[in-house]
């Protein structure tokens, strides 16, 4: 089936800022619609100002063109707003393996990062402290581990 084939291709398109995560892992693909030779893909942006979104759309098109799908449209869907709850379980494991602590709990369960128990992706200790609510990209916060002393990124619940 065409849709299945497209989803397989999408699982090879990764986030340029977190190359271990595919767009499927991220949970930003809302729908794939096939109408004759036209393919429409609905994508939810992670953050409004995420500079990676334009590049992700371009990479999706490129991957599909390479596979022979030439008529591809990408539509942005803002509602319902993307949440880290849509990230796949395997995506969370991949993040951890990459050295980024995956989101803890469900989106907006808790107001403050300080109240979260975030495990260090290096030594797994939960004795960690938030350094900054804003990390190297919009979707991450900066933490440090009080046991192994390593600073690390935490993918925020959103």
């Amino acid at each position: 089936m065409v849709t299945k084939k497209i989803l397989d291709i999408l699982s090879t398109v990764t986030d340029p800022e977190i190359p271990v995560l595919s767009v499927i892992d991220l949970g930003i693909i809302r729908d794939v619609m096939v109408n004759d030779d036209t393919i429409t893909i609905l994508v939810s942006p992670t953050y409004s100002g995420c500079p990676a979104m334009d590049m992700i759309s371009m990479n999706i098109k490129l991957a599909l063109i390479t596979a022979g799908f030439h008529n591809v449209q990408i539509q942005q869907v803002l509602s319902p707003a993307w949440t880290t709850d849509w990230m796949t379980e395997s995506g969370k494991q991949k993040l951890k393996g990459y050295g980024i602590a995956p989101p803890v709990g469900k989106s907006f369960d808790k107001m403050y990062l300080e109240e979260l128990e975030v495990a260090c992706p290096q030594c797994h200790s939960t004795n960690t402290t938030v350094i900054s609510e804003f990390g190297s990209t919009s979707c991450k916060a900066l933490f440090k581990c009080n046991d192994c002393k390593e600073p690390f990124d935490y993918f925020k619940c959103h």
């Binding site: 953050y47 409004s48 500079p51 803002l78 509602s79 993307w82 907006f108 609510e133 804003f134």
Partner: protein, 234 residues
Amino acid sequence: MHLNINNLLSLADDALILGHRNSEWCGHGPVLEQDIAISNIALDYIGLARNLYQHAATLINAGATEDTLAYLRDVIDFKNHLIVELPNGDWAQTILRIFFFSQYQRLRYQQLLLDTDKQIAAIAEKSLKEITYHIRWSTDWVLRLGDGTAESKARMIKAADYLWPYTEELFVDGFITKREWLATIEPVFLEATLALPSTKQLLQKGIEGEHTEHLGYILAEMQYLQRAYPNSEW
């Protein structure tokens, strides 16, 4: 309530100009983490502005695009509130403006969730998550500086006195009342041991195109490339 095109452009212009102002801190923040934080906040605003301009462009039609709206309108066409075009000043003035404006924005965008225009409601839904972060971050700073050292407190008082007259404009179009906004400001000021300023309001209205001298300088910097080399891309 349904927005007219000027209301929509006003929302977009607010986001673009405040995003531009905050981006001026990139590479100049007091410490690396805060430099990154304010640059991220600037990106949220620019992203919001893009969503709003793209939608406005579809409503205006006539060849309008997000780029023509951002880069090819002049001072008198911009409908942002004056508070967002003021210079950054010091860190106290910068964070206090974000605090004042984000609290206003949260109230405003909560209303927009119910807008009959589904795309505006969707943009609001998306942005409210980000606005929540901005409020949290700027509230922390208001508390830290207000209830900090003699120097930081003096800076906060000065910033509050300077910004206060401009906050009045947030309520003139009648979407948000000053009372509901004050209810979000007062508890934080109280905890930060700061008094609400009593400086007088301004009669000038940015939302009607009556801007301060500062906006012209922002536009000159922001629009230079598109004006000098029309339609250039990279």
